[in-house]
């Protein structure tokens, strides 16, 4: 991470504020009969009315299926407006949300898994209807899904790392270290948008504020690779790391994401590479910087690929250049990956000055056009 910075992505505080989730039934002024009924089953999600006046809206869900379910009210780009988890078979729950005029989706998730069964609904009336582009919404929704997947996939890998630390197995922990970071590094701008989590899990020693306790990956990295030890404090840190990452996994889907923040997030990932990885500062004890480097590039490429339909239309020259530079940087990185089947790269302390310059040139070559992506998608 980079210490103290403003990121384009902001935490979901706004969303949380307008999605007052309550368990009790409230009188709704949104529809004539008070509430909107949602009949959830294992294979259906029926909504009593698909159009209702904007304002405070209450959804009463009844789980008629055999699996425990969840109910989500979503923006078209998959941002969560309001949610209610753990609705057991045969039980009812009500959630309320402050909805401006516009399009929404209701999703029931039988078994609390997957994208759920969706229904399109519309809040009508006063209040400005945001002009939306279906392409942009699709890109944001897909990126939101990607971010969630990365978090979900990180948890077991981080657990393997934490377990090795807790077992006092230095070699196994060293092996698991860089792998446990990949999902985080791929989606770092989103992860960093939760200001409270990033300093707990990814801070480097020099990034600590006075009186801040050093926790997270890099503290463990130092114990393992520099001090070659695992003590009780480290074992405890491994548990703290898992607690913090679980928080990230839970929150990440609520991040405020827009097409331009995706584009700038991609650029920020390259900034991370340019300032922290190319210099060898990020993983100064383990020298696994190139794994993070690759993950940053992959995350940036994912955001770009999702925005490409828009970018290619608005600025075809730019998207051609980006295709080319992503390929060039990936090819360059492949030179440092002896075993193509594994996510393992040459230790960065074995990468010479001339090679670092070449990597730095490659980053500049990609990051400069990438900084123009936001303008291309905002056109």
């Amino acid at each position: 991470m980079r210490p103290a910075r403003l990121t384009v992505l902001t935490a979901a505080a706004v969303v949380a504020a307008l999605s007052a989730v309550t368990g009790c039934s409230e009188k709704s002024d949104a529809s004539g009969d008070g509430t909107i009924k949602v009949a959830a089953s294992d294979s259906a999600c029926e909504v009593s009315t698909k159009e209702f006046p904007a304002g405070k809206v209450a959804f009463e869900v009844e789980n008629k299926g055999s699996k425990v379910t969840e109910l989500y009210v979503l923006f078209p780009d998959d941002r969560i407006v309001a949610e209610r988890e753990n609705i057991g078979p045969g039980t009812k729950a009500t959630i309320t949300a402050e909805l401006k005029a516009g399009d929404y989706e209701i999703a029931c998730k039988p078994g609390m898994k997957g994208d759920g069964i969706r229904q399109a609904v519309k809040a009508t009336g006063s209040g400005t209807v945001e002009k939306r582009s279906p392409e942009a919404d699709a890109a944001v929704a897909a990126y939101r899904k990607y971010v969630q997947e990365q978090a979900d996939e990180t948890i077991p890998k981080a657990q393997a790392f934490a377990d090795a630390v807790k077992a006092g197995d230095i070699e196994a922990a060293k092996k698991a270290y860089s792998l446990s970071r990949i999902g985080w590094e791929r989606t770092e701008p989103v992860a960093e948008s939760f200001g409270d989590i990033d300093p707990k899990v990814d801070v480097r020693e020099d990034g600590l504020e006075p009186n801040q306790e050093w926790t997270g990956w890099h503290k463990l990295e130092k114990s393992l690779f520099a001090d070659n030890k695992i003590d009780d404090a480290d074992k405890k840190l491994a548990e703290t790391l898992m607690t913090d990452l679980a928080e990230w996994q839970k929150k990440v889907g609520q991040a405020e994401i827009t097409p331009t923040s995706m584009a700038n997030g991609a650029k920020e990932l390259l900034d991370e590479v340019a300032t922290g990885k190319v210099t060898g500062e990020e993983d100064r004890y383990s020298h696994t910087d190139l794994v993070d480097f690759k993950a940053n590039v992959e995350g940036a490429e994912k955001a770009y690929e999702l925005l490409k339909p828009i970018a290619a239309k608005n600025d075809p020259t730019l998207s051609t250049e980006l295709d080319k530079q992503f390929a060039a940087l990936n090819n360059l990185l492949e030179k440092y990956r002896p075993n193509k089947a594994a996510y393992e790269y040459t230790a960065y302390d074995k990468v010479g000055e001339a090679e670092r310059k070449e990597l730095s040139d490659g980053v500049n070559a990609l990051a400069e056009p990438l900084s123009k992506l936001a303008a291309a998608v905002a056109k």
Partner: protein, 440 residues
Amino acid sequence: MSESVSEPGPERSSAGDGAPAGAPESAPEQAGGAPSRRSVLGWGGAGLALGAAAAGGTALALRPGPDMVSAASAGSAVPFHGEHQAGIASAVQDRLHFAAFDVKTKDRAELVQLLKDWTEAARLMTAGHPVGEGGYGGLPQAPPDDTGEALGLKASRLTLTIGFGPGLFAKGRFGLEGRRPDALVELESFPGDNLDPARSGGDLCVQACADDPQVAVHAIRQLARIGFGKIAVRWSQLGFGKTSSTTPDAQTPRNMMGFKDGTRNVSGTDAAALEKHVWVGAGDGSDWLAGGSYLVARRIRMHIETWDRTSLGEQEDIIGRDKGEGAPVGKSKERDEPFLKAMKPDAHVRLAHPDSNSGATILRRGYSFTDGTDGLGRLDAGLFFLAYQRDVRKGFITLQRNLSKNDSLNEYIQHVGSAVFAVPPGVRDKDDWWGRTLFA
């Protein structure tokens, strides 16, 4: 002709248009975004005429000589278009940012497009305008085209001069191997050289000279930014004090050793000397380079501390001139004809004189540099030597063979960086671009 004249422009340079010395410095802020490129270019013809008149007037008020003109109107613009590139014979500005680039792209068309894009940006910046759509006022989500640190500054006589290194002509690169001039030779290793590869070579170079360091640094930064992906910065050097003047009427500047440097330099107004020693002729073997030149760049580190502990007498013996007036040994005035035999056989001026080198003559345009101190606490300072000549073999190489072997100054200097470039002729008009004669 590339002497300094002011050129009216609606933006940065406007306050300096033909204004007498002491005119208010406040250039109006860029209003309503950047001017359209067409409007900028449209000013060219009238600008030249008006500017020339203004410069003449200013010169009359002072003493003649391009340096004096420029000092009086330091914000003015030097014309970008011309038979020769500006920044060679034109009056030397006070500040330098020199950059050498590696070409990363393998695609000739992409390199050509870069040179066109660079030309366009150079045209704007030398006229005192920001590049592209300007430094602000665009989309809030996207970085501006221009980085903005030169907004509100005048053109400051910015000149941008491009050169092509030998690597560009390598076989199998851009199909230019047949067009490499015979005179573009790699420099040999001279005795005493301690060259750092990280401060040497390059496929392209751009010399940015201006009276304001911020303007020079801005220009290189913009070109690097435009080029990322096609080129990468290999090394660059800042210079802060010119050590050679192309305007002999003006006072000769001093180098970091405290001696006047450039007394007998080729004058920027001596057309005959320039034709003979600096500009590549049509019959010299490479048609595309006619009107161009060759540039040798050397980073010459000075052993400042030991030099400062050297007696005045020895310092003067080493140089061959006295320190106060700059007069050659046995003479009383700086510009008196040197009598070489009065100097010690290993005196620098004697060894560097054309008479000691079969007439070899170069146009020097070097700058002093100081990059702080090295890890040992020694001043990392010296001369960033820039020399233009018609043929590197008959110019710098002839001279340096002699100097590197015999010069008593060698005890106090070391060459630590080196590069050589073919410098194409000037950009003729708004449809022309840097390197057209080579690539088109």
